[in-house]
């Protein structure tokens, strides 16, 4: 009898223990799931707030010219950030203000002669845009100007909408044939009008390098393509082919060059936006290699710009050859030139080297749109928890671009409006 009572008491105790444990577990599970639901709602709202902020911030950047309004064309420091072209309304962006944004992707270039680092956007082998750090805007400074330092991070990218590809398809009988194709995002620019400029380097004469330049306008077919034949081009000639495509206000550009010297060339450094001054250095002085022997590069320079009626025009800058050297105990020297206009265009620098008579051509945009360079400015969105993006279609110096802002919060889970 005693034995049976003890067994009943034990069973009852186990019942209580199991019931209480299950109840507490259920309560904890319920709290956890409920908190998770609340957190999901909070995070959703936070993401919505970031998306709204991204839209507002992008408009702040694109619909205000900044302070001072023409800061892109001066060397002065700015006190209010904005990229709008001060001569226009709506989403018209200054091609010079964009040049003053420090690139997030290019490896900075250090030039010994000036003792400065340069923001680097290099497309292809010989197309440079090197802006000194003292003129290029720092990302953290811009976040202060926008009032979002320590609260939001962003990356602003601008990419051309229209791509113009140029290929040398045939070379025979001292003439070259180029296939030019213009396309938008996923569609061809049928029957687009293409204005082009062909600049061939002549390094044979005593005053070389000089250049021959020709212009033309053609219409593309329904696939947006056209073949252009250029006469008097030898197999080893260096040249630059620049083309603008336009269709109902949509304008894009492309370029193609051939150079036969891959070692020595001229490197252009922007020195002053206000005065249009560009420093020209020997490539050996920039890409320091103490094993190189003494060397000289001769150059001339011209400026090609697209006029308002979409005709390419040339503006010679240096017609008599000049030179930059490496070695000879003077590797701190550089040449310089002044671009006499603030109309966006392309600085074209034909050059030749000594001894081997090898030559080539260097291009530099004056106004970032003239070579349709892309812009990447700001932080890195890759490692962020959640990134809101917003886009606008904009015009930069007459060229169609897409502006995209990626924005993320730096405040953890706190929700800000």
């Amino acid at each position: 009898m005693e034995h049976r009572e003890r067994v009943n008491l034990t069973a009852s105790t186990i019942d209580h223990l199991v019931a209480v444990t299950v109840f507490l577990a259920a309560t904890l599970l319920f709290i956890g799931l409920f908190n998770q639901t609340i957190q999901t709602a909070v995070i959703y709202q936070r993401h919505r707030a970031i998306a709204t902020k991204a839209s507002d911030l992008l408009d702040t950047m694109l619909l205000s010219p900044g302070i001072p309004v023409n800061w892109g064309q001066t060397d002065s420091n700015l006190t209010g950030f904005g990229l709008q072209d001060p001569e226009f309304t709506q989403y018209r962006i200054s091609p010079y203000s964009l040049m003053r944004l420090r690139s997030s992707v290019g490896e900075p270039v250090y030039y010994n002669a000036t003792g400065q680092y340069y923001s680097n956007v290099t497309m292809g082998d010989r197309n440079f845009m090197l802006v000194p750090y003292n003129l290029a805007l720092d990302y953290s400074y811009v976040t202060r100007l926008l009032g979002i330092n320590n609260t939001y991070g962003f990356q602003l990218t601008l990419t051309p909408v229209v791509s113009v590809s140029i290929q040398e398809t045939q070379f025979a009988n001292s003439s070259a044939t180029f296939n030019v194709t213009a396309a938008g995002v996923g569609f061809p620019l049928s029957y687009t009008t293409i204005s082009y400029c062909f600049l061939k380097v002549d390094s044979s004469g005593p005053d070389s390098p000089s250049y021959d330049i020709s212009f033309g306008t053609v219409n593309a077919d329904d696939t947006g393509s056209v073949s252009i034949n250029i006469d008097n081009v030898a197999a080893d000639d260096s040249y630059a082919f620049i083309a603008y495509a336009r269709l109902s206000g949509l304008v894009g550009m492309g370029y193609h060059e051939r150079t036969n010297d891959h070692e020595q060339y001229v490197v252009p450094f922007i020195d002053s936006f206000e005065e249009g001054r560009v420093l020209l250095a020997h490539s050996y002085n920039v890409h320091v290699d103490e094993t190189e022997t003494e060397a000289t590069v001769f150059y001339t320079a011209t400026y090609v710009l697209l006029t308002e009626d979409f005709i390419l025009r040339e503006m010679p800058i240096i017609t008599e050859k000049e030179h930059v050297v490496y070695g000879y105990g003077t590797n701190q020297t550089f040449g310089n030139l002044t671009i006499p206009t603030h109309n966006p265009g392309i600085l074209v620098i034909p050059y030749k080297t000594t001894g081997t008579n090898r030559d080539g051509v260097v291009l530099m945009p004056w106004g970032i749109s003239s070579l349709a360079f892309p812009v990447v400015f700001g932080g890195d969105p890759q490692k962020q928890e959640w990134v809101a993006t917003d886009i606008r279609q904009v015009i930069v110096g007459g060229i169609a671009y897409q502006a995209k802002l990626a924005l993320w919060s730096l405040e953890g889970y706190q929700v800000n409006g």
Binding site: R6, L9, T10, S12, T13, H16, L17, V20, F23, T27, F30, I31, F34, N35, I38, A41, V42, Q45, R48, A49, T52, K53, S55, D56, L57, D59, T60, L63, S64, I67, T79, G80, F81, G82, T89, R144, L145, L146, G147, I148, T151, V415, N416, G417
Partner: protein
Amino acid sequence: MPQVTIEYMIMIPILIMQIFLFPLTAGWIMNTWVDSRRTLALQEAASHLGSSMQQIYSSLNHAAIAAGTVTNKLDIPPFIEGYAYVGNATLRTALDPALNSSKILDITLRLMGVSIEATTSVTLGQNVEWQQNSTFMSNSTYASINAEKQSNGVIRLSFGT
């Protein structure tokens, strides 16, 4: 004897404690949920207010726009779960005031009767002024944003009262 001790001395107090524990837990969870819901709604309103303020400024801030006054009736709720909310704003410069830099308007909304706040910031140009002591009242007939563009290009912003 040990079984009796477990059952009556430990388990019964735990069960009695559960009578209080369950409603307290449920109440705490519900309070958290309600506060979060109100905070989210208030932040949504603050975000909307800031965005509207910025768009009005951008619209007026161009030489082609003549001097005048614009009033924007806001599409935000007058109450959040039965509570009205008030708003204040302060204007500060992004850099040193002597540098004539862009200005940041910090807007704070408070839910009346409960201690819930939400803030938002709006980036504006150097030609903006904020009317001191201007207060936003969500359930007011005149709840709105006023923007007065003056002939010298200064844009004076305030809440409608």
